[in-house]
């Protein structure tokens, strides 16, 4: 057991009295005791000293309470062109009164669905923050999309944060989608305070056969956010799941994303773009588990790092012995704009089947000087030429956002960042 457990501020959270899900909570506490908080020698957190960061930045650690969100706050924060449904959270707590009523699907508090098998997809044994969330979350959300329901409108999770220093927000969402269900989710965070806070989020997604889900995340809540998220999904036969994560700011962000390909002819896609400046630290840990034959996974993460920023990419691909005819592709490319920016990238492929197509590659370099000169000799100013080249690099990830208005919004944010000083 790690020495860093309950003695730490963040570790003391584990005793927070949360109601319901007794069995799952005690299982999570046990998982917490066994794992302890990650220290400098914990392999999975080797490059992301999250425990140290939390101890330094958080004073009195308490659980953040919900607050009132007005319809005006919701409307004024919708990005241009969004015409879907909005589910509002205040410090991680679902706010039904300002959320859309969505016909044909079930949305309620997790506590009202006490037989939900939480922790069966995002297992507390795999990540200690996942365990902390499971042991102590309150105000989680349950979403169930019945079979054959294809949601035409996108669901936007709008997460408002308003807290005093040191508070912890622990959102938890369970999504289940029946056979042939289709849906698109977008996560957006709006931070109303200027003190450091910690978000420890878990999202579990259970798909049926032939379900098709898109999950988009925009991480842009400013330099006060310390965040760990665990998002995990089970992907069944003939189903697809696609994730795009755009990370633009944060103090320290760790995204654990895991796809379990459990049925043949299934497909999992993971795309990510991180544009980092200042001292922002973003760590994407992805995991795809090919358990059956004839499934495909695609992964592309790209990063542009300026100033003293730090990026981490760790991509695990596990191809089990039965998973013949697997296609698995992974790519991570980085551009460093400053001598002080650092990126650690680690592909981790474990392949037990013998008839598979797997490829991976990672590159880290500077902006292409020859391309820059070429553009300049055509009369394009140096700053704009840099912006053009960086945008071209980033655009490959943005192309995977299939929601037009959200893509336009993200494109604008990225262009603004790259056009001026990154």
């Amino acid at each position: 057991m790690s020495t860093l457990t309950k003695q730490t501020k963040i570790g003391s959270l584990i005793d927070f009295p949360a109601k319901g899900f007794e069995a799952a909570r005690s299982q999570a506490k046990e998982a917490f005791e066994i794992q302890g908080l990650p220290g400098t020698k914990t392999e999975e957190y080797k490059f992301t000293a999250i425990t140290k960061k939390l101890e330094q930045q958080l004073n009195d650690v308490t659980m953040a309470e919900p607050f009132e969100v007005t319809p005006d706050m919701v409307n004024s924060n919708l990005f241009k062109g969004f015409d879907g449904d909005v589910l509002v959270f205040a410090n991680g707590h679902f706010q039904a009164n300002v959320s859309s009523q969505i016909e044909g699907i079930e949305i309620s508090l997790l506590s009202n669905n006490s037989d939900t098998p939480i922790g069966k997809i995002a297992k507390p044994e795999k990540d200690v923050f996942c365990a902390i969330n499971q042991a102590t979350f309150t105000g989680g959300l349950f979403i169930s999309i019945p079979k054959k329901i294809q949601l035409e409108k996108t669901i936007l999770f709008m997460n408002f944060t308003k807290i005093s220093a040191g508070q912890v927000i622990q959102p938890r969402i369970w999504i289940e989608a029946g056979d042939f269900a289709e849906a698109t989710f977008i996560e957006q965070a709006i931070n109303l305070t200027d003190v450091t806070f910690f978000v420890n989020k878990v999202v579990e997604i259970k798909g049926g056969h032939n379900t098709h889900l898109h999950y988009y995340r925009l991480q842009n809540e400013g330099s006060n956010a310390i965040e760990v998220s665990n998002i995990e999904t089970d992907i069944q036969q003939d189903s697809t799941f696609s994730s795009v994560v755009i990370s633009l700011s944060g103090e320290m962000v760790r995204n654990n994303l895991s796809l379990n390909l459990l049925g043949s002819n299934s497909e999992g896609n993971m795309y990510g773009l991180y544009l980092l400046n200042g001292k922002t630290h973003v760590d994407n840990h992805t995991n795809v588990d090919h358990t059956i034959p004839h499934a495909e996974s695609n992964e592309l993460y790209k990063g542009i790092l300026a100033d003293h920023s730090r990026g981490v990419f760790n991509g695990k691909i596990f191809v089990r012995q039965d998973a013949q005819k697997t296609n698995a592709f992974q790519q991570n490319n980085n551009i460093l704009l400053s001598e002080d920016a650092v990126v650690n990238t680690k592909p981790q492929l474990e392949i037990w089947a013998d008839d598979v197509k797997c490829s991976h590659g990672c590159t880290t370099g500077q902006l292409d000087e020859e391309a820059l000169f070429y553009l300049q000799t055509r009369g394009i100013g140096k700053q704009q030429a840099k912006g053009l080249l960086l945008y071209a690099f980033a655009g490959e990830v943005l192309e995977h956002i299939k929601h037009e208005a959200f893509k336009t919004y993200c494109t604008q944010l990225v262009e603004d960042r790259l056009g001026a000083k990154l």
Partner: protein, 254 residues
């Protein structure tokens, strides 16, 4: 138009250009020839403003302005155009968007209104005919997956769009088959006027059958060692560079 005096340039401390003198007037075509490693491409690069080269002595006056004081983009806006020996592939940047940005930045510098989408496309269609470049090519990423000939044609197409006063063609002929060479040369010739000038940098005389120079200069060891008319190019074609090398080298030992 262009006056180069005693130009010295080096890369990482190694001198490449050792005193170039060259006068070019509007309406003229100058060919710069010479054996490999003589400094031809360096001269082209220094004029365009490539940063790796350090100018250690001399001056370059372009239309009364000290060209060496300008950034690469401002040189382009002042009217200098370099057709690259190896045009750069830039994935993700569409040829059309790139050109529109370039044309409008150059126009802005020259105090002209930007071209709107319609006017830009009209101009593009007109100039495309000059080098017989396919629209499909321009809807792709800049130079990405283009054949050698397509890249060179794209260079001349960009030149046509930007309407430079001084065009420098760096080995534009290398690697081209005769059909492509004719198309490229034809484009260059149509763009020639009494108000602009062209520097053709080449190793081979062949290109000069199609782009006929007013003057031919031979560059060797970073200096112009011989100048003449187009007949000099034919003489070089026939006799090679050795007789010039020998003449220069024996002079140096005296």
């Amino acid at each position: 138009m262009l006056s180069i005096k005693n130009l010295h340039a080096s890369i990482e401390g190694t001198p490449i250009l050792r005193g170039i003198n060259l006068e070019i007037k509007a309406g003229e075509v100058h060919a710069i020839m010479g054996p490999n490693g003589s400094g031809k491409s360096t001269l082209a690069s220094v004029l365009a403003g490539r940063e790796e080269y350090e100018v250690t002595d001399g001056e370059v006056i372009f239309n009364g302005k000290d060209l060496l004081e300008y950034s690469p983009e401002d040189r382009a806006r002042e009217g200098v155009f370099l057709a690259f020996q190896y045009p750069v592939e830039i994935p993700g940047v569409s040829s059309t968007n790139f050109l529109r940005t370039a044309v409008n930045q150059v126009r802005e510098y020259r105090g002209l209104d930007p071209l709107d989408a319609v006017k830009f496309l009209t101009l593009m269609k007109e100039k495309m005919k000059l080098v017989e470049i396919d629209q499909k090519l321009l809807s792709r990423s800049l130079n990405e997956g283009f054949s050698g000939g397509e890249k060179k044609r794209n260079e001349i197409f960009q030149m046509a769009m930007l309407e430079p006063k001084l065009s420098i063609l760096d080995e534009t002929d290398s690697g081209l088959d005769i059909d492509a060479l004719k198309i490229v040369s034809n484009g260059v010739n149509q763009l020639k006027s009494k108000d602009n000038a062209t520097i053709v940098v080449t190793h081979y005389q062949r290109l000069l059958d199609y782009i006929v120079p007013d003057y031919v200069h031979v560059l060797y060891k970073g200096r112009i060692v011989k100048s003449g008319t187009k007949e000099l190019a034919l003489e070089l074609e026939e006799k090679g560079y050795d007789w010039i090398k020998e003449a220069v080298d024996s002079e140096a030992t005296v």
